[in-house]
């Protein structure tokens, strides 16, 4: 890795950490808002499944969420359906944040690295949701 690349990589990690610290409250608010379904109907293992599916790809996660949303609608679980809807909206916002971050980091590799940031941010957001859910499940 060249020095320039190393520098970009470092500044990227720092930007992701900063984003994570600023958005943990957003994840906590999300869990509070959907306490009727998290973690009772949407359990910790399902949340981990979401986190794993983002590793495969953004589209894979969206497909996963959409299929769950349809299933909840058919079963008449409207709070659960709303939760999936909200999560998909949050993910769209995070996608925009990832775009902003890649612009800030002045990336030459463009799209590919932007996708990596996108995955990292979504994965972190879901991890914040998981941690909050685990702690309220106990409380």
């Amino acid at each position: 890795m060249s020095r320039d690349q190393e520098k970009i990589e470092k500044s990227l990690v720092s930007l992701v950490h900063k984003w994570s610290d600023e958005n943990i409250a957003r994840a906590e608010k999300f869990v509070d808002l959907h306490r009727k379904v998290i973690p009772k109907r949407i359990g910790i293992s399902q949340l981990y499944a979401m986190k794993n599916s983002i590793i495969i790809g953004f589209e894979h996660l969206l497909d996963f969420l959409k299929s769950r949303q349809i299933r909840a609608r058919k079963a008449g679980y409207f709070h659960e359906e709303g939760c999936y809807e909200d999560l998909m909206n949050q993910i769209q916002f995070i996608k925009e944040d990832a775009n902003q971050l890649s612009k800030q980091a002045d990336l030459k590799e463009g799209k590919q690295l932007s996708r990596r940031i996108e995955k990292e941010l979504i994965s972190r957001f879901i991890q914040h949701i998981i941690s909050q859910s685990v702690s309220i499940e106990k409380g």
Partner: protein, 159 residues
């Protein structure tokens, strides 16, 4: 980015270091009223009286040293509190939750300090977060040291 690396280019590097040192001394001496909701000594003592083991405390300290994000430390603590199903470890009398709140409350002191020194934010907009992160690390370091001592006292009592 590491704290020292982040502040090395700042003109007010010395002020930042002194501030962090001053607060950390406060942790070690057990002062509470001016910097956080709880003090490191009390939390360490409560944790030592619970079933939390030395390796678990060392694990949290290790996480705080290896990450550049306060959210990662808080996430790790939340998971430990949540998994204490019997309530006699990390969630004994809400000690883990109070530790999380204490780490969060350190930010207020940083903001207060930076309000008096606006030049910092002009130099690096992320400086408040980095100082806060360093304070969290130092708080956990001090708490871990107190914990090791208090745990030993607890173990001696049992023998």
């Amino acid at each position: 980015m590491e704290f020292m690396e982040a502040i090395k280019s700042l003109k007010l590097k010395r002020e930042a270091e002194n501030f962090v040192r001053q607060i950390t001394d406060g942790f070690a001496l057990g002062e509470t009223d001016w910097y956080s909701a709880e003090n490191a000594l009390t939390l360490a003592k409560e944790l030592a009286e619970s079933t939390v083991q030395k390796t678990q405390i060392r694990g949290i300290v290790e996480i705080s040293r290896s990450t550049g994000s306060i959210a990662d430390i808080i996430d790790a603590l939340k998971v430990r509190v949540g998994r204490d199903y019997r309530g006699n470890g990390w969630d004994n009398a809400g000690v883990g939750r109070r530790l999380i709140e204490t780490l969060r409350s350190l930010r207020a002191k940083v903001d207060e300090f930076l309000a008096k020194q606006p030049e910092f934010k002009e130099e690096d907009p992320d400086v408040a977060r980095l100082i806060h992160l360093q304070l969290c690390r130092n708080f956990l370091d001090v708490m871990a040291a107190h914990f090791e001592y208090a745990k030993r006292v607890e173990e001696d009592k049992d023998e």
